[in-house]
């Protein structure tokens, strides 16, 4: 981590020892500055991230509205049939063929979708990080065993497996569904994290830590993981994106069990009940599409800026210490779909 002031430069290399001398209050303030204030400032300074954060907060707001019950529940014949958006301000996004308020439909399933996306992302990246770092750092038999297992999971195409599993387990709980959807997503990600760890492992500071007798979990946590963070965060977003795409796609073709409607089911209904044939029903098709694309777009925009948050060079530039640092390159990651 680069330096903010001369004082911190001095304590940087043995920061663990020095932080013990700080009073608890100072420590909290330091943690706040380092983990919340600075990342927030850097993230906000990037135009793309700012838009991304704004978009995501709209979704969080929608989830809050649903949880607090501030908008009407969707039910049939609550309004006229197939009202177009903004035709009546009471139903701003229009209604479906059976007179259901589309905005209510979208809001109704926002908490479900957000929870599912979070579960999918956390599960996929969590497993991948554990598997990737352990197998990359440990090497030997552990590596061989883990690599063979993830090779096997990589050999199974995700969606067909999810379809068969969904038939067996009928997942309706959002968290369980998120896990099922990314059941083998971790394998590929774990593999690429492994190869990153392989190169980090050879770095001299890791070797130094090893020579000093630092324990393996500590090296992994303190020295290896921070280097992986940008990559992991970006891939968290990609995993979340995959979860949205997969779930909506499978709801859309009607192979996931559901109770009540959600974005994918709405899309399915619009598609199967005439949304395709007439222009009058096009908004019915469009509203869930916008909801899906908006959420993913917001996530991707945020991830584009996260790269900067974890980049120590950008942080240094923020404090105005160094002007000599060249423009950071946009290292966009992985060819994952």
């Amino acid at each position: 981590m680069a330096t903010e002031t001369d004082a911190s430069e001095e304590i940087d290399w043995r920061s663990d020892a020095s932080s013990a001398e700080m009073s608890p209050r100072e420590r909290v303030r330091e943690l706040y500055r380092r983990w919340i204030y600075e990342p927030a400032v850097i993230a906000w300074s990037d135009g793309r991230t700012r838009i991304g954060i704004l978009i995501l907060s709209v979704y969080v707001l929608m989830a809050l509205v649903e949880l607090l019950g501030l908008w009407r529940e969707p039910s049939t014949n609550q309004a006229g049939r197939l009202l177009t958006p903004f035709e009546s301000m009471q139903y701003p996004l229009g209604t479906t063929q059976s007179g259901v308020d589309l905005l209510a439909l979208i809001i109704d399933s926002t908490p479900f979708i957000l929870l599912m996306v979070l579960a999918g992302g956390v599960w996929a990246t969590g497993i991948a990080v554990v598997v990737g770092t352990v197998s990359g750092y440990k090497g030997g038999t552990v590596d061989t065993v883990i690599t063979s297992i993830s090779d096997f999971f990589m050999a199974i195409p995700g969606l067909p497996l999810v379809i068969v599993l969904a038939l067996a387990f009928s997942p309706e709980n959002p968290i369980f569904l998120g896990v099922i959807l990314t059941i083998n997503y971790w394998a590929g990600l774990g593999r690429s994290i492994r190869s990153q760890v392989l190169s980090i492992r050879e770095a001299s500071y890791i070797e130094a830590a090893r020579t000093m007798g630092t324990s393996t979990p500590r090296i992994l946590l303190k020295d290896v993981l921070p280097n992986l963070m940008p990559y992991v965060m970006v891939n968290f977003v990609l995993a979340a994106r995959y979860t949205i795409f997969a779930s909506v796609g499978l709801y859309f073709i009607g192979v996931l069990p559901y109770s009540g409607q959600n974005w994918g089911v709405t899309l399915n209904n619009a598609y199967n009940q005439g949304g395709l044939f007439t222009m009058q029903a096009f908004h019915w098709l469009l509203v869930p599409i916008v909801a899906i694309v908006g959420l993913t777009f917001g996530l991707i925009l945020v991830s584009q800026g996260l790269d900067r948050v974890f980049n120590p060079q950008v942080r240094t530039r923020l404090t105005g210490e160094s002007e000599s640092i060249e423009e950071e390159s946009d290292t966009t990651t992985t060819g994952m779909m």
Partner: protein, 332 residues
């Protein structure tokens, strides 16, 4: 051991593991293998032995045999390409799959190659003109494309181009009136039917490919060996292809392995939307009809196709990365 040899030996092992998984999944499915069907037939007054015989014919599994026996029977059946009989279609599963597989492979291969080529070209041009208006516009466009799932392109394309303007057919792989054969008419008809799915599937992947290529190229352009090559006075075209492009594509090539998997799996949704008679379409039809033999057959064949596709991709990997054939496969 030789890389190619080692890679080849892994195939039967992976396939065996996949067959085992399929067997396990069949047992896992609600009610176990054909419990429902069995109860149904017994209620209709069919004698128990006949019921068992019928189920054995459907999925080469004998419900009354011990588990290991069932597993071995299933293995032998798969080896003999006997995947059971489809309940809903009344034909052997392998026949259905033999008809469906080429369509799926056609879709995936064409669209993946198109996506890769277009994405790489776009990304390379963006990197070359980094910071230009072209770059800004296309980077923004790529980020947006990444946020749109391919089936949305499929639905919108179907809505406008097929249903509203009637430029493309709304389903099937070939018109019924056209006879199969090596005729120009057949060929054009196939392309006409496949155009929309392929376009939707291609656009859906261009965004991330272009962004990847752009990032990699910018990184490579900053490397010292590129500078040295310039100082040596090498031709620009040689630098662009041999020095920059090759090294920028290399990391993406390893991702191709995963990409094929995601895309092969993705055909399930794509083919269902376009009623395109590939493996994914039959998989969904089988799920909806509770046709377990067909469903597991499709699942098995999709997986084996992926294993073979990745194998082929891995073999060509040696062509662009000389380290691989030298036996160092740890690098990726």
């Amino acid at each position: 051991m030789n890389y190619y040899l080692r890679r080849t030996i892994r195939i039967p092992i992976t396939v065996l593991a996949v067959v085992t998984l399929t067997f396990g999944l069949i047992r896992l499915l609600p009610g176990g293998p054909f419990t429902q069907l069995r109860v149904q037939l017994l209620q209709q007054g069919v004698p128990a032995e006949q019921v068992d015989a019928r189920i054995e014919a459907l999925q080469n599994i004998r419900p009354d045999a011990p588990l290991w026996q069932q597993y071995l029977d299933y293995l032998v059946g798969v080896l003999q390409l006997d995947l059971g009989e489809s309940i809903s279609l009344g034909t052997p599963v392998i026949e259905v799959i033999a008809r469906a597989l080429p369509w799926t492979v056609f879709l995936v291969v064409t669209s993946t190659v198109l996506m890769f080529v277009i994405g790489v070209l776009l990304g390379a041009i963006q990197a070359y003109w980094e910071g230009s208006t072209f770059d800004t516009v296309f980077s923004g466009g790529s980020i947006f494309l990444m946020a749109v799932p391919y089936y949305i392109f499929a639905v919108i394309g179907l809505f406008f181009l097929a249903y509203q303007f009637r430029l493309f057919p709304t389903g099937n792989a070939v018109a019924r009136t056209v006879e199969t054969g090596f005729t120009l008419e057949y060929f054009i008809n196939v392309l006409h039917h496949a155009a929309l799915p392929i376009i939707a599937f291609t656009i859906g992947g261009i965004g991330s490919t272009a962004l990847n290529m752009r990032g990699n190229s910018i990184q490579v352009l900053g490397e010292e060996y590129v500078e040295v090559a310039r100082l040596r006075g090498l031709a620009d075209s040689r630098i662009a292809t041999r020095y920059v492009a090759q090294n920028a594509i290399l990391p993406m090539y390893t991702g191709l392995l995963l990409l094929i998997g995601f895309r092969l799996g993705g055909t399930v949704v794509l083919e269902e939307i376009f009623s395109y008679p590939g493996l994914g379409y039959y998989l969904i039809e089988a799920v909806n009809a509770n046709d377990y033999p067909l469903m597991m057959g499709c699942f098995l064949v999709i997986t084996v196709t992926l294993v073979v596709a990745v194998y082929i991709a891995d073999l060509t990997y040696g062509l662009i990365d000389p380290r691989i054939s030298a036996g160092d496969s740890d690098g990726y």
